[in-house]
Symmetry: C2
Subunit: 293 residues, 2 copies
């Protein structure tokens, strides 16, 4: 059913991207903002039909929040350690006989608990396509940054740090909001933020310091966005790296945020390398469909 081409989509919280794949190559694609939170309960069948109208009447392989509670079908989180074979075996059927949802992954250890949806497909895809080694430390920036450990091609544990969401919360509603409309950029002020976040004080203390420094005239307003971005990313790195082994970090993603994480990792002395998250996702979808054929 999959060898004559398929559509795969990464259906996230606020956006979705979909690709038509034929013979292992992308022949068409689109992206829009009809993410999980923009689709009404019960609206998924129509949106799936919409994807097919735009990209073709072929089988569908979906990842991400489309499988969350309140999504199209509630797909489980498969516990770590998790490998590609178990992910494929756990594919979830939908009311549409030619559409399947990739399950998410979970990790629990004592009071720690974590979940992901969508990134697992990128991780296994990156390994399958040789974009990263089967033993790898991955940092996947986004609204919810994921730190993951791959061992022998298996996802053995991971931790989420909600750096992107926190930045958005601060930008939308906090006493710093007016100063966060500027775009954060690497450089001196970002680096100063990384250094402070890496020290590991409570963010709730460091963030107020930013406001005080602006009021007292020791931090120019235009530097706030880069500094705060650095502060959150520095704190993220400190926690994320705290229980991961030494070695190169694969920064998986795309765009400005990925570059900021890469710059911060370099600053704290960690070798790192960027891998395109979209390439990894497509490789993951291809690897899954090959096992299904």
């Amino acid at each position: 059913m999959w060898t004559d081409g398929y559509i795969t989509a990464d259906w996230g919280t606020t956006n979705r991207r979909a690709w038509r794949v034929e013979g292992g190559r992308v022949s068409a694609e689109f992206a829009d903002d009809l993410g999980f939170t923009s689709v009404s309960p019960g609206g998924f069948p129509d949106e799936v039909a919409n994807i097919r109208r735009r990209l073709g009447d072929v089988p569908l392989l979906l990842a991400g929040m489309v499988g969350a509670r309140g999504g199209w079908v509630d797909a489980p989180y498969l516990p770590c350690p998790l490998d590609l074979d178990r992910l494929v075996a756990g594919l979830v059927a939908t009311p549409d006989p030619r559409a399947f949802i990739i399950p998410g992954a979970s990790y629990q250890d004592g009071s720690r608990a974590d979940v992901m949806r969508g990134e697992e497909t990128q991780f296994f895809g990156a390994v399958a396509a040789g974009l990263c080694a089967p033993d790898a430390i991955i940092c996947h920036p986004g609204t919810h940054n994921k730190w993951a450990l791959l061992e022998g091609g298996r996802l053995t544990r991971f931790r989420t740090v909600m750096t992107g969401e926190m930045y958005n919360l601060l930008k939308n509603g906090s006493l710093l909001r007016a100063w966060l409309e500027t775009e954060a950029a690497p450089g001196e002020h970002f680096a100063a933020g990384v250094a402070q976040g890496w020290e590991g004080r409570a963010l709730t203390a460091d963030l107020f310091t930013v406001r005080a420094r602006v009021l007292l005239g020791t931090l120019p307003e235009y530097q706030v966005a880069s500094f705060v971005s650095g502060l959150l990313i520095g704190a993220d790195l400190r926690t994320g790296l705290s229980d991961l082994p030494q070695g190169e970090v694969v920064v998986m993603g795309r765009g400005a945020l990925t570059r900021l994480f890469s710059a911060a990792l370099t600053q704290v002395g960690r070798q790192n390398r960027e891998v395109d998250g979209e390439d990894a996702f497509l490789a993951g979808a291809q690897a899954i469909t090959e096992r299904l054929s």
Copy 2:
């Protein structure tokens, strides 16, 4: 001018409280939500006239955000170390010859910077009235919790942790918002949060863990508010206490939040004692007017 009675007001960001004081005793008072952010630029003279209509045509002593940039008059932040005499000497005149604004306080040391408005009046008032010793460690919960060190009656340093603001941000816009509508309360789940926050990981990691635990069924939804409140307060205590001396902590404030901080301090082994913040404020206003008479 002050001996025949006066009005004093603590004019905060979102609320204001005003008292008529005669012979050192409160004879009338009111509170409303016409805080700093609810008064339009240029609207302060009318609001001051409104206060006088409600409480009497007497001199006015104002503290808090009414003296912030964008308030009635931009009152300075006086640097630490600061004592009551310098605070009185720094009183700021307004366009109204019978209304004065109490300046704020600032602290700077290297990359640290901090500001307060209103709490300084409570601190000096508490000492003047014997509610706390001239050498004291103060925790002042609120939207912006203040940790302060008093030495010989002088405010020598302080640090702000924006625990209350962060809780509100999470409640209004985060992925945890639906579960934060319950009121946080002391008890087992609050204590578990305090213990985790006290460990000092990045809040952005611990907060996502909360979501994951709910999704995976290991944290009941009704426990989230108390747990998250504990988490933020635990992190607050860790940072706030990190550079303060040993000894009893005076928890200055009023209401539920003050009790949560007191419970958390007891949990982490710090002796503490509550002092009513309103009593302290009134004592501060009285001490200032006595020096002016």
